[in-house]
Symmetry: C2
Subunit: 321 residues, 2 copies
């Protein structure tokens, strides 16, 4: 985390003003075989958000980035999440929010979840932690609903709880922290647009029972592998027979990146969230660096613009600074 | 296990004769949300099997029970499993097998798996453990194939590995041991016939993706709950939205047993394997005894014959005595 602190210009607040800055990290939803239920927080990339209590009721939002996101609270992912939280406060509360977004919207790296979760964690800190983590997930789901039309928590929860989380159930909400051994994560974000709603639309509503059995064998293996720290089992369990075969067609270069990465020693990986980002889990840093090189080579050849990251699992989640 | 040793008449062998007696326990396949992949070994009931190396090549089988099972090796579940193992031995090996079966065939408590797994564990002991546990699972699957028409390992593996096992994959075979906290298990076997093949036949070949997602959230929660020793999470995860709603219709009294057991404090439970036995997991022994009373009351009212057991998880699996 030191690297991040050095990179950020940590804001300081005038005497008597109550404010806080949080770093809200990217997250990988699904984790190959855990569609809609598993998620993992990363160290990089991350958004920085500065939230200040104000005597003026309501929410004012400033975006210090170039993504041209709406700043009307009701149309802003962080805004609606904060509004959801404020329903449980007296009417006269006010907040000023400044967002430095580094997680590109539409990357599949939980950009909207970082805004949604980051702001409610920041607000809770300013309110002396009156809300539970579960409450915060509930508030932030309003942001996800605005972003994608569906309340989901697989990106929000790893931000709020840190590490790897399982959403066993969303109604009622049941978030389970799953310990995982240290891993390096190589990520490539090819700059193509995959809308979450489109990525959901192309999925079949029914699946073969035999495929579902394979999938729940794999997710059970992945959770056991994480908790045992058994890299071999993690690797064998990183298989998705239901979603990836369909969605990967939307991502040029996917098969080549995956095949070459596994050949180079990655444990496995797949589509991050609904894509287009691709992630690969690795036991060793030098493997992750090799995988990053493979990702760069593949996308240099396609001519597509891209970003890569080599990072680690973020067990702390959203960080107050 | 002391209780068991007292109950058994342990055979002793004449000097120079190499023989072994094993206790092969009942097993619960599926464990509610882990259809075809999870299984658990129990202490009660169990079969006793005595296997002796013979100078006469081939297999002779005696059944010391009243189930009228075939004793021709090629038609006997233990016989075909032992034949499968013998394919990897020189031709002149011979075995005499005596089976005291206490796990009723067709009970859904892994009767065929106990025969199949018990005999190969016994043979491996007589052969100075030349085979791995995975090899033994492979041999015993020949017995399951004879019994049900399908190679499956969810009853065999907990017998051979002990405790709770996950069959992450069957081809290639990948068996994972899952630690579970101490639990009491109340079981009722109502004496009705549910053929495994019928129980499989009535399942739909396709399932809704949203149901599959719920199921893999639950199996991931159950594995995490076992490994964390989190009884609350185990309880919440013991939910099956795919198989139980269909198969439970074949078992009169199922809903009443389940509802009343959970009300009495059971963590949860469901159909053992393909039924008709029903099992309930409990944190405390006195809850399991209450649940047993409920099971008895329900089946006394129906007029169906039944057996009940209150037992615990068998972490050792098949026991050499």
């Amino acid at each position: 985390m030191q690297k991040q602190e050095q990179k950020e210009n940590v804001s300081s607040f005038p005497l008597g003003v109550r404010g806080v800055t949080v770093l809200a990290p990217a997250t990988i939803a699904n984790l190959v075989c855990g569609f809609d239920v598993l998620g993992m927080a990363l160290h990089d990339p991350y958004d920085a958000m500065q939230l200040t209590l104000s005597e003026k009721p309501g929410i004012r939002i400033i975006h210090n980035d170039t993504y041209n996101l709406p700043t009307t609270p009701e149309q802003n992912v962080a805004g609606v999440s904060l509004l959801e939280l404020m329903k449980e406060l007296p009417d006269n509360y006010g907040f000023d929010l400044i967002i430095d977004k580094h997680i590109k919207p539409g990357s599949g790296l939980g950009s909207s979840a970082a805004s949604a979760a980051g702001v409610v964690v920041a607000a809770n800190h300013l309110l002396n932690n009156i809300f539970s983590k579960e409450d915060l997930v509930r508030f932030a789901m309003a942001g996800e609903k605005l972003a994608s039309g569906v309340k989901h928590a697989d990106n929000i929860s790893p931000g709020i709880y840190g590490g790897v989380t399982l959403i066993r159930s969303i109604f009622p909400l049941d978030v389970v922290s799953v310990n995982a051994p240290p891993m390096y994560v190589a990520v490539v974000h090819p700059q193509i647009e995959v809308k979450t709603s489109d990525a959901r639309e192309i999925l079949r509503k029914e699946v073969l029972l035999k495929d579902a059995i394979k999938q729940w064998g794999n997710i059970a293996g992945l959770v056991a592998g994480f908790m045992k720290g058994d890299y071999g089992l993690i690797s064998r369990s990183l298989e998705d027979v239901i979603i990836e075969p369909v969605r990967s067609m939307l991502i040029p270069g996917f098969d080549e990146v995956k095949t070459k990465s596994v050949y180079a020693g990655a444990l496995g990986g797949g589509i991050s969230g609904s894509g287009p980002s691709i992630f690969m889990l690795c036991e060793k840093e030098n493997t992750a660096l090799k995988v990053e090189k493979i990702m760069k080579d593949v996308y240099d050849n396609t001519g597509l613009k891209y970003h890569t990251y080599v990072t680690t699992i973020n067990n702390e989640g959203i960080k107050l600074i």
